[in-house]
């Protein structure tokens, strides 16, 4: 590529939803052959801006130029015709079609007027290979794990040969290994002159891949800077409008007796013979590569999936857990990985979401006590500074990070002795992340046993007392904090070091 040309220029973009001004007067310029990162807290408006760019939303005001020409996009197809491809934050695939059909969705190759299945399968296989993803192009998409689906989503955008590609938190469910593969592809795309917009909360990744960084805060554009010469601390300051000192504060706490013990647990498919124990006041990390089986394990412990072998003990006594209700009775709580699907009931208010698992306790003769219900919600909205601090607001109108805080509140209301958090800070901004870490710290200080599933190594290293690494459904022996290092975890996760 010779001279740098402007791929995209958005000017004065505002977008109002009923009740929310998501964007106000945002400007964004992206050049061909460069990676432009957008960072900002949860709810800052990043996804909304990208949905304007991809034709999902019409902006309330503002204009968009593509390669120097002003365009008006009313639907995604318009944007695609202009060479804009988007990898959405929420997965956007068709579960009932095959992987190959998903990759070519909307532009299937034809032969004699018919869909050319053979070609699709061949080409999809090549692209998935290039991404380093071992996924069968003929598999039904709905049968894949979330992370595999994420890879398909990326393959789909790439396969379209876009001029501008937008990735909205593409790595949130990818392992570091897969992230590295993705970055290789991004660099190759850069070389090909593609303009890349990259959204992530992982500032380390931003610094690694981005050429330029735009910071959004509360729907407004704060600044655009070259990535060279900006530090993570600087970005954070611009994002939140103040200094945030320690991202991963490790609160010291007293470690007590074992609370949860898992012995030889297996479901016959996703995980086998898993054993570990968590003690009061301890944060046990559970990490590994994509599809290692952590989520399935957690769901099984919480009674949402069946096990075929092994047992679970609480406080030394074996317990039979065959439903989430039984798990709650046994003192286990589980903050699920997929907030949108498993975490919140969007049509209910924050209050109604928080009290859901304890409704029966708040009831007499079947009737829910409204005062007890309100009190519960108010205390958590305050303690966790949920924004806006209105328990009666529909939870779907909150930003991701605030929803996550509400979900954690919900589980604390059950007074658990063991709290399992599955990727609790995935897709959560630094400010909210620090706050979630602070909350977890306080909980263990109070004697709770916490299992934290996380794919982010720095987070695992930062907050966990011990770490169990899973690989292919098998769990390693716990690694003590003192013996933890990024290299050690990767070795266990990839099988270079035997568990």
């Amino acid at each position: 590529m010779s001279a740098v040309a402007t791929a995209l220029r958005m000017r004065g973009i505002s977008k109002t939803f009923p009740g929310v001004k998501a964007l106000s007067n945002v400007n964004l310029t992206v050049d061909f052959g460069r990676v432009h990162a957008i960072v900002g807290e949860n709810g800052a408006g990043k996804s909304t801006l990208m949905k304007v760019l991809s034709g999902t939303y019409l902006p309330t005001t503002g204009t968009t130029d593509i390669a120097g020409v002003e365009v008006r996009m009313r639907k995604p197809a318009d944007a695609q015709r202009l060479g804009i491809r988007m990898v959405h934050q929420e997965l956007n695939l068709v579960p009932d079609l095959t992987v190959a059909e998903n990759v070519y969705l909307g532009r299937m190759p034809r032969k004699w007027g018919l869909a050319d299945k053979a070609k699709m399968v061949r080409d999809a296989a090549a692209i998935l290979d290039e991404l380093g993803a071992a996924i069968d192009p003929k598999a039904r998409l709905g049968d894949l794990s979330i992370s595999q689906q994420q890879l398909v989503e990326i393959a789909k955008a790439y396969a379209a040969g876009p001029r501008i590609i937008v990735l909205d938190e593409p790595t949130s469910s990818l392992s570091e290994h897969e992230t590295a593969a993705l970055f290789r592809i991004l660099r190759k795309m850069k070389q090909e002159g593609i303009a890349i917009v990259y959204i992530s909360h992982r500032l380390k990744e931003v610094l690694e891949i981005a050429d330029d960084v735009t910071i959004l805060r509360d729907g407004s554009m704060i600044d655009t800077r070259p990535a060279d010469g900006i530090t993570a601390a600087e970005m954070i300051r611009l994002m939140v409008g103040r200094e945030v000192t320690n991202v991963f504060p490790k609160t010291p706490s007293e470690i007590g007796a074992p609370v949860l013990k898992v012995a030889g647990l297996g479901d016959g498919y996703n995980f086998r013979d898993v054993s570990f124990e968590v003690r009061a006041g301890e944060i046990l990390g559970l990490t590994g590569l994509v599809g290692a089986g952590r989520t399935e394990l957690a769901r099984a412990v919480f009674g949402m999936a069946r096990v075929t072998e092994g047992r679970v003990e609480i406080g030394g006594k074996p317990v039979a857990i065959n439903s989430p209700a039984a798990a709650v009775r046994a003192g286990i709580a589980y903050v699920p990985e997929d907030r949108k699907d498993d975490g919140i009931v969007p049509s209910l208010s924050v209050r109604e979401n928080i009290s859901l698992p304890v409704l029966r306790k708040l009831s007499r003769f079947g009737r829910v006590s409204m005062s007890a219900d309100r009190k519960l919600a108010e205390s958590y909205t305050k303690d966790f500074s949920i924004v806006p601090p209105d328990p009666e607001r529909r939870i779907s109108l909150l930003s991701g990070g605030n929803q996550q805080k509400a979900v954690i509140s919900k589980w604390l209301s059950t007074n658990p002795s063991v709290l399992i958090l599955d990727e609790p800070t995935r897709g959560v901004d630094v400010g909210a992340k620090a706050e979630i870490h602070r909350i977890i710290g306080e909980l263990v200080a109070g004697g709770m046993a916490v299992v934290m599933i996380s794919s982010e190594l720095s987070e695992v290293l930062g907050v966990c007392d011990r770490v169990v690494v899973m690989r292919d459904g098998h769990a390693s022996a716990p690694v003590e904090r003192a013996a933890l290092s990024e290299a050690r975890i990767m070795a266990l996760a990839t099988g270079e070091e035997a568990a």
Partner: protein
């Protein structure tokens, strides 16, 4: 962290919609009342309102159950005609065998059992409600018919008919029963934990499940409730008519769904209340009454009713979208 400036970004969205959608129906009912009073001297008379209430009662009881089904995300219970027939046929057929009161109770219980069958298939096996209730309805109706030899069943105890047709303070007993069912249904849905579970399960099944809500039971429960309601309706219908044939319940499922939907209860689940559904029913019934009084032909009545459903729901959807966030 985000304060001051941030809060200005958030205004209320929900209540606006709520006001409009609730107010809309109230205004519509008022309009029918005013038009009816002007158009027909008979309309605004106690006698006419008692008539409207009487013809509302039987379907009204089903409406209460159907509200639970829609709210829990169960789409619709199409086994209602069968469960009504079950209630009507058995409450009469069992009279000579076990006496009128036990027959009444047994008929309702069996209809509830039929609801349980649908509920188990829908809640525990995960069958689509349309298919499950169609299938179970067909089977149950066939079995009940086979049990009585496939013919019409006649009443053997006229006293029971007199009881059902009796009045208290001028209000027919059947209407009082309907009102009682409605009040219980309302409190169960809006104030009890079971009701909140029902709304949560309809709002997001997976999240409710992950929140230790016994989603399967809650989903099944909505169909048991509807089965019991339809059984009660059927038993009352049987006693009123003193005869029951297999098709006595035909059409009630659609009337009930119509009322619930016109009341603004979303067929997608997670939202709705009994008073809303009943308001929908009142509106439909008053409108029909006015049309009857005006001598509007039956086909035109059906036409108007169909159009009304479509318009009511389209308006509701439009309002909801304006109020922000698809529910």
């Amino acid at each position: 962290m985000q304060q001051g400036t941030a809060n200005e970004r958030f205004r209320s969205g929900g209540p606006l919609f709520d006001l409009l959608s609730r107010g809309g129906l109230a205004i519509a009912i008022l309009a029918v009342l005013i038009y009816g009073s002007l158009a027909s001297p008979v309309f605004f008379t106690a006698g006419n309102f008692v008539n409207v209430l009487t013809s509302m009662a039987i379907v009204g009881i089903v409406v209460v159950g159907m509200t639970f089904v829609l709210v829990v995300g169960g789409l619709a219970d199409l086994s209602v005609p069968a469960t009504i027939a079950c209630g009507a046929i058995l409450s009469l057929a069992l009279q000579p065998v076990i006496g009128p009161v036990p027959a009444f109770a047994a008929a309702i219980a069996l209809a509830g059992f039929c609801g349980l069958m649908s509920g188990l298939l829908i809640g525990y096996v995960g069958i689509n409600p349309i298919v499950a209730t169609l299938g179970v309805g067909t089977i149950v109706l066939g079995i009940v018919q086979a049990a009585v030899g496939g013919v019409i069943v006649y009443g053997t105890n006229p006293d029971t008919a007199a009881l059902v047709k009796s009045r208290l303070f001028g209000i027919p007993a059947i209407v009082l029963i309907f009102m009682a069912v409605a009040v219980v249904g309302h409190f169960a849905l809006s104030r009890s934990y079971w009701g909140r579970w029902t709304i949560a399960t309809g709002g997001n099944y997976a999240a409710a499940e992950a929140s230790a809500v016994p989603v399967r039971a809650v989903k099944a429960g909505a169909f048991v409730i509807t089965g019991l309601c339809a059984g009660l309706s059927g038993a009352l219908l049987g006693l009123t008519l003193q005869s029951a044939r297999p098709l006595v319940g035909t059409g009630y499922e659609f009337s009930a769904i119509t009322a619930v939907v016109v009341g603004g209860v979303s067929i997608m689940g997670g939202f709705g209340s009994v008073p809303r559904a009943i308001a929908g029913l009142v509106f439909v019934q008053l409108l029909t009454n006015v049309m009857v009084l005006q001598g509007v032909r039956t086909p035109v009545q059906g036409f108007a009713l169909g159009l009304l459903i479509a318009i009511a729901v389209a308006l509701d959807v439009a309002l909801r979208r304006r109020a922000g966030g698809a529910l």
